[in-house]
């Protein structure tokens, strides 16, 4: 099992750091899956996470100048690691003007991802900073826990409003209630609602647009025959929603959510080279 990667381009480094910062805001611990062409940050829906799950996919070629991976075995040419993304985020934070950043899987006293940053300095030699991030190697028998979640059979799919606006709305609502209702219909309308004994607040968004999902043999017929005005809704933990919105540092190219009434809300945020899916289950 070997892994070595290198980033030399500052823009790529910056972009990669921002992705890691977003992941760090969403999960305290997560799995990192390495394949020959992609990196995945995965959070599976355990009770400990409050039932949320996350799937983030990056093409390594868009970030790394060098990328060498040898998996656990020839027919399973992948590596699954468990790590604390906040550590990686911290390691990259002060590397933003680096000449090069190398990431390597090592096993001195315990498995670590070693992030070696070569920094410019006025002296003849560069300054070296190394961060040894402890990781856990996830054995192959557990890999099934980390499969890509399928898109749920949703009732409504709708594009999200501008995330910055949505975030500031949800932030204020957070002070009033622990849960928030997201409802949307196929006419591009979405409402964010909170309701307490004293007050109820609703923010209405319209003209958001509904993404066209290709129907596969009519399996999306439920949405096709659905009344356009009828709202699908789910009540979710407001802090989980805020975590997702607050973690976004760059406006995604596409941002949408799929609502399964009273069951789950599936968020999809797409950037040029990163896709992030986040599932928040409905509260009982």
């Amino acid at each position: 099992m070997r892994f070595r990667a290198k980033i030399v381009d500052l823009a790529c480094l910056n972009h990669f750091s921002r992705v890691i910062n977003t992941i760090a805001k969403l999960a305290k611990t997560c799995a990192l899956r390495l394949t020959v062409s992609k990196l995945y940050f995965i959070l599976s829906d355990k009770v400990a996470n409050g039932g949320v799950s996350m799937w983030c996919e990056l093409c390594q070629g868009n970030f790394f100048d060098e990328f060498q991976m040898e998996g656990v075995a020839a027919e399973h040419n992948e590596i699954y690691l468990e790590l604390v993304p906040e550590n990686l985020s911290r390691a990259l934070k002060t590397a933003q003007n680096a000449k090069a950043v190398k990431i390597k899987l090592t096993n001195k006293h315990c498995p670590c991802l070693r992030v070696a940053v070569e920094l410019p300095s006025l002296s003849s030699s560069s300054r070296m900073v190394t961060h040894d991030i402890p990781v856990g190697v996830i054995p192959r028998r557990l890999w099934n826990d980390f499969r890509e979640p399928s898109v749920p059979d949703f009732d409504v799919s709708i594009y999200l409003p501008v995330l910055k606006t949505m975030k500031s709305v949800v932030e204020r609502m957070k002070n009033l209630s622990n849960s928030i209702v997201i409802e949307a219909n196929l006419s591009g309308e979405m409402n964010l609602k909170i309701e307490t004994d004293l007050v109820s607040v609703t923010t209405h968004f319209k003209d958001l647009g509904n993404p066209p999902w290709a129907s596969e043999d009519g399996c999306q017929s439920s949405t096709q025959s659905r009344d356009l005005e009828s709202m699908a809704e789910a009540r979710i933990d407001i802090r989980k929603l805020l975590q997702l919105l607050a973690g976004q540092q760059v406006n995604p190219t596409k941002a949408l959510c799929n609502i399964v009434s009273k069951r789950i809300v599936h968020f999809i945020l797409l950037h040029e080279d990163v896709s992030l899916q986040y599932f928040i289950p409905a509260l009982a």
């Binding site: 604390v84 550590n87 911290r90 390691a91 002060t94 001195k108 006293h109 315990c110 498995p111 300095s121 006025l122 002296s123 003849s124 030699s125 300054r127 070296m128 900073v129 190394t130 961060h131 040894d132 991030i133 402890p134």
Partner: protein, 390 residues
């Protein structure tokens, strides 16, 4: 007619020096909750110590720093006064450094022992005067016992280099280890508590080449661990004042001393270091200094019994900074692993005690009342009194 009793100390700081004074107070506020003021013939000394007595800082402003400086002294109607004030109160006067720079032209400091008041008066633009009357407490002289000449190793670097180095460590990090590595490189590494599970804590290590420093005279393989929080306070000051920072250290357990020097200002920060009884450090190269036997491990907790006889109030004329000891440059050890490999885990001292207790307590605290020279019963002395640096 009786002459009115004159204030014990009076000084005026003018122009850009007001901000320097403000920054010094900010730096001291990172150390302790009380600010000790001591006017001397050599200038005004501001000092602070932390509650566990493991960090001490002093800023000595020479008379030339001031537009006017009257220390007071043994004259009729004048008393030399050492006092301490609440750090919070004093810092409040200098809270906003930008506004100090923009609006304050002069700062007057007056010690009025009869009225028990320390007056800090800011003369600002547009004729505005802000007067702060702070209560003070008379106190004993606060003096850490340390001697840079006793230190086997020293480094000097522009403050900027060290500031850029510590930025890689999180603000919450408690302790950092400075080590002399192979190839003349100096490393900084976060210290991991023994109690922390191995393999759970991220370890960050930074390497600085020898030529980033102005001088390097370190014992090969030497290392010390000290608290980063107090050091950061000094570093901020040093960076702003653009002065090179000198680090003097010896074996683990003996304090590390950071100094800044300038024509009108002398700054010392003394920090206790983690003692390391099980480390297989190389003993420092022969330097003629005889080391006192290491005190027992209970020492750190036994502050009460640890009293040092204080100097009386005589001041030596012309005492300058002791010369920095020079030692043969450290030779690289071919047998040692290169920086890419992980170093041996450093063993801590007493397990299970909170971090600050592991540090050797330093120095301190005579309970002599001012004006009565005499020696408190001298108990075990870790290091002899310094050679009258103040």
């Amino acid at each position: 007619m009786q002459p009115r009793p004159l204030p014990a100390m009076k000084c005026i700081v003018a122009g850009g020096n007001v901000k320097v004074l403000g920054r010094a107070v900010h730096s001291l506020s990172r150390i302790g909750d009380e600010l000790y003021l001591e006017p001397t013939e050599n200038g005004l000394s501001l000092r602070a110590v932390n509650s566990s007595r493991s960090a001490f800082a002093s800023f000595l402003f020479a008379p030339l720093f001031f537009q006017l400086y009257e220390a007071g002294g043994p004259q009729p109607h004048r008393e030399l006064c050492r006092c301490k004030v609440l750090m919070k109160s004093f810092l409040g006067v200098f809270r906003s450094l930008p506004s100090l720079e923009k609006t304050v032209g002069k700062c007057l400091i007056l010690l009025k022992p009869r009225a028990s008041r320390l007056v800090v008066q800011l003369h600002c633009k547009y004729g505005v005067t802000k007067t702060h009357n702070l209560t003070f407490q008379e106190c004993e002289r606060l003096q850490a016992v340390f001697d840079t000449q006793r230190c086997a190793s020293s480094l000097c670097a522009p403050a900027r280099v060290l500031a850029e180095a510590v930025v890689h460590f999180p603000q919450t990090l408690a302790e950092v280890t400075l080590a002399a590595g192979p190839g003349g490189k100096i490393s900084l590494r976060n210290h991991v508590e023994d109690e922390a599970e191995p393999g759970k804590t991220m370890v960050t290590e930074l390497w600085l080449a020898e030529d980033e420093f102005q001088t390097v005279a370190v014992a090969p393989g030497s290392r010390i661990t000290f608290c980063l929080k107090e050091f950061r306070g000094l570093l901020t000051f040093a960076e702003a004042s653009n002065l090179p920072l000198t680090v003097h250290y010896d074996v683990p357990g003996r304090p590390v001393i950071f100094t800044l020097d300038d024509a009108v200002l002398e700054v010392h920060l003394v920090l206790a270091t983690l003692s390391d009884p099980e480390s297989n450090l190389q003993p420092p190269t022969a330097n003629g200094v005889s080391h006192l036997p290491a005190p027992s491990d209970d020492f750190a907790d036994d502050l009460e019994s640890y009293m040092i006889a204080m100097e009386t109030s005589t001041y030596e004329e012309g005492s300058g900074v002791p010369p920095i000891p020079t030692f043969p440059p450290c030779t690289p050890h071919p047998a040692e692993s290169d920086p890419e490999e992980e170093e041996e885990e450093e063993e801590g001292a007493v397990p299970g005690t909170p971090p600050h207790k592991k540090f050797r307590s330093l120095f301190f605290g005579s309970v002599l009342t001012p004006g009565r020279p005499g020696l408190a019963p001298a108990l075990e002395v870790l290091a002899e009194d310094s050679d009258g640096e103040y």
